[in-house]
């Protein structure tokens, strides 16, 4: 492996990244997944963590462009140079540029975005090219083999020379989802995603990912990516209090609603919409409802369900009306008894969390189909 002259590297462990634009060759969700997965290749073997920003500056700005594109290295049309990235530093430092004249794919045909991005992010983190033809940091593009291990020992030796190994001591390249929050040394222990006693405050889908809220932190998990990113809630929404009660996504509006006590906020990306928080009763609840335990929005039905103790209310978007009185949870969701902590919808299943238990509920069959551990979604 080799580093750049002077061995530039990032002095912090949590780095931000932002996609400035998208290639028309792939769906935005596929681009997001490829980029996130490419970054997790490096975070899985180092203490580094990556936070996605939707706006403003970021350490690693990612863009697609053809030919000249405001830096000193114009692209050269189809083939030849596919992408380039800059060594760690301010301004251009860390940025990655992808040649829009290539055909970006998520397969072995064309130019695989995940594979090229993983290489380029090696540069963004401080690695130059390797002479080892098996290394990810070898400069020539080889047909992407999804079944193969992407990082070669040479790559791992190089990146750990700069940043050290992953804090996960058994170093089996499994993602440790703990961020040592420097501003939070008084916090006795960070929640561990693999604890058998793991419980959640709230869980929701969010732009193709699943977000697990716990105290001051969230785990972000993309179903297609094995690892989960662990971040502070305040790194996304500084105004939000820790220990939320419930959250749900309205995908068709690209909004997420987050509840704490008798208030709720609506966010889009990392922005809290203006005019929030608002009081619960503005949603149609009786004034004596002071908090909710969990909620989810069923996009197919156009209905939102709010769970309180052993009952639930539902709001029908079409008739724009809230149930006049709550119904028993077990009547509509047989097998789900008593209070729940959190619930979210993934494909045609609901996942109910109650203490250390998780219930998979089939919306078609109207019954519980699996009992799961709460850490089922993490690489434990």
């Amino acid at each position: 492996f080799s580093t750049f002259a002077g061995e530039p590297k990032w002095t912090k462990q949590v780095l931000t990244y932002r996609l400035v634009n998208y290639t028309p060759d792939l769906r935005p969700a596929d681009v997001n997944a490829a980029i996130e997965k490419a970054l997790s290749v490096w975070s899985s073997v180092t203490p580094l963590r990556f936070i996605k920003k939707d706006r403003g500056d970021a350490d690693i700005l990612i863009s697609f462009a053809a030919r000249g594109h405001n830096d000193f290295i114009p692209f050269d049309g189809p083939g030849g140079s596919l992408a380039h990235a800059y060594a760690p530093g301010k301004d251009f430092g860390g940025d990655a540029h992808f040649d829009e004249d290539e055909t970006w794919t998520k397969s072995t045909e064309g130019t695989n975005l995940f594979y090229v991005a993983a290489h380029e992010f090696g540069h963004s983190l401080g690695l130059s090219h390797s002479k080892d033809p098996n290394a990810l940091m070898y400069p020539v593009y080889r047909k992407y083999d999804p079944s193969g291990l992407l990082l070669h020992q040479d790559d791992i030796a190089g990146i750990q020379y700069l940043y050290g190994p992953s804090p996960n001591t058994n170093n089996d390249q499994r993602e440790s989802t703990e961020i040592k929050d420097p501003t939070d040394s008084k916090n006795p222990a960070l929640p561990n995603s693999c604890s058998p006693n793991l419980t959640f405050d709230a869980v929701t889908s969010f732009r193709g990912e699943i977000m697990f809220f716990k105290d001051k932190h969230i785990w972000r998990k993309h179903p297609a990516v094995r690892t989960a990113d662990f971040e502070l809630i305040s790194s996304f929404w500084p105004q939000l209090p820790p220990g939320v009660d419930a959250a749900y996504e309205i995908p068709e509006k690209d909004e997420m609603v987050i509840f704490k006590g008798n208030e709720f906020w609506v966010v889009r990306g990392d922005t809290i919409l203006s005019g929030y928080p608002q009081k619960l009763y503005t949603l149609g609840f009786l004034k004596d409802v002071t908090k909710i335990d969990a909620a989810f929005h069923n996009r197919n039905e156009g209905k939102t369900y709010y769970f309180i103790a052993d009952k639930f209310w539902s709001y029908d978007k079409r008739s724009q009306s809230m149930d006049r009185k709550p119904l028993l949870i077990r009547d509509a969701f047989p097998g789900i008894n008593g209070k729940i902590d959190a619930v979210f919808q993934h494909e045609n299943f609901l996942y109910f969390f109650s203490g250390r238990k998780q219930f998979e509920f089939d919306l078609d069959k109207k019954r519980v189909t699996r009992f799961l551990k709460t850490n089922f979604w993490f690489p434990c």
Partner: protein
């Protein structure tokens, strides 16, 4: 040389010159692009052949020509 071969040879020369400029910091200093064993171009070509584990001939052989036509990362292979 028959014209065809000569043309291919010139194309190969341009390809390798562009490659060495992009990835090995070669700067054409005005001298004619002719092969002399010690000129800058030959030195850079040897550097590239060494990086990729090719036979270090300093000549534009088929293995070298094949490699310069492969897709790759746009960053140089040498510090700079």
């Amino acid at each position: 040389f028959p014209a065809g071969t000569r043309q291919t040879k010139e194309e190969g020369m341009q390809l390798i010159q562009k490659y060495l400029e992009n990835y090995y910091g070669f700067k054409k200093d005005g001298e004619l692009l002719v092969w002399k064993s010690n000129n800058a171009m030959t030195q850079k070509l040897k550097e590239m052949q060494e990086f990729f584990g090719l036979e270090v001939t300093g000549k534009l052989d088929s293995a070298t020509l094949d490699l310069v036509q492969k897709r790759r990362c746009g960053l140089p292979d040498v510090a700079g």
